[in-house]
Symmetry: C2
Subunit: 202 residues, 2 copies
């Protein structure tokens, strides 16, 4: 009927504030554009970037580093653009995460190495880097992960993930450095494996 049509027309022309207005977002959107924005809104709360579901912390981007320093004190931080990441006990059973922070270019990056057990006894390792920052900030960087063995080198170069997006999807889609136990052992001196990571402004 005419009245509903008129109301629809009004609704289509009304702009609504982002649901994260209280957190600081001043953007307004037509109704149909709101969900897409809110998915990537920079004011959407950040989750704790540590892998695994054990920490339920949420907060603003500015609060992430203080949270990590206070609640995840076991994580080592290394300074510099080029670091060596040593993961020990790579043959431990079960799903295991190794985490390290790297500080360079006035930013903080989190390197995650995750091992998942597969049914056939061969385990899969996933290594990925995420920036403690927004997706836009992350796009200014590239990272390189290198596994070095005798006369062999495996390299993965990509844009760091933003912790706003997290790393679960990247691991699920193999959009990271992926290797199996054979390679992990081939590239290890006993139980050590080396990952060198280079940060470059893209």
């Amino acid at each position: 009927d005419i009245r509903n049509l008129a109301m629809d027309k009004v609704a289509a022309n009304i702009q609504f504030p982002c649901r994260y207005q209280n957190a600081g977002c001043t953007d307004i959107f037509f109704y149909q554009d709101k969900p897409d924005h809110e998915e990537i809104c920079e004011y959407r709360p950040y989750h704790c970037p540590c892998p695994g579901a054990s920490c339920r912390w949420q907060g603003s981007l500015e609060q992430v580093m203080p949270h990590l320093r206070h609640a995840h004190t076991s994580i080592t931080t290394l300074q510099g653009e080029d670091i060596v990441f040593l993961a020990t006990d790579v043959t431990l059973p079960g799903a295991v995460d190794w985490v390290m922070m790297q500080s360079c270019f006035n930013e903080h990056f989190m390197l995650v190495l995750e091992k998942q057990d597969k049914q056939d006894g061969v385990h899969t390792f996933y290594a990925v880097v995420q920036l403690i920052g927004t997706r836009k900030q992350a796009e200014a960087f590239a990272y390189k992960l290198e596994l070095n063995g005798p006369r062999r080198r495996l390299t993965w170069e990509a844009t760091p993930r933003s912790i706003h997006d997290g790393i679960a999807t990247a691991i699920e889609q193999s959009d990271c450095l992926v290797f199996d136990t054979n390679i992990a052992l081939l590239f290890s001196e006993n139980v050590l494996r080396t990952i060198k990571r280079t940060m470059m402004v893209a």
Copy 2:
């Protein structure tokens, strides 16, 4: 007894010719050293280096290239140290091999991309380079396989295999470039995937 001991002593001091003497090997060995040598003897017949078990050809190293040219006419050969390998139809079901020859540095290299179907629907791709030559000749080279995607690059660098050793063990042990369907599709423009290969004298 004394006699047997004396015979053992004699046997231990006798040198035997390599079993590939008729093929040209002039080396002689103490009995206990023979098997190790014969495993890597350069005069051991070469098998056809094409992946899969369909071709039963054997012959000398010098006969391998003529065999490939006459019996495997569908294999493309590209000249140069840096080539692009395009594999189409990467989502075809079943075990599939893509093969290409690369000629550079007066040598012939065979690039093999092999897809194996895994039980969980995710397929695994293995890419590896072998030299039509001896293991010693292969050690003078290094190769690099690169998969390039949007803001992503996966690289594998290693010494080429000799066709005397073959590639089956390398694939079995993941001692090559390994990636799954997700990466293959992520790095493809539609159904094409690019592998760039660089040969360098090590």
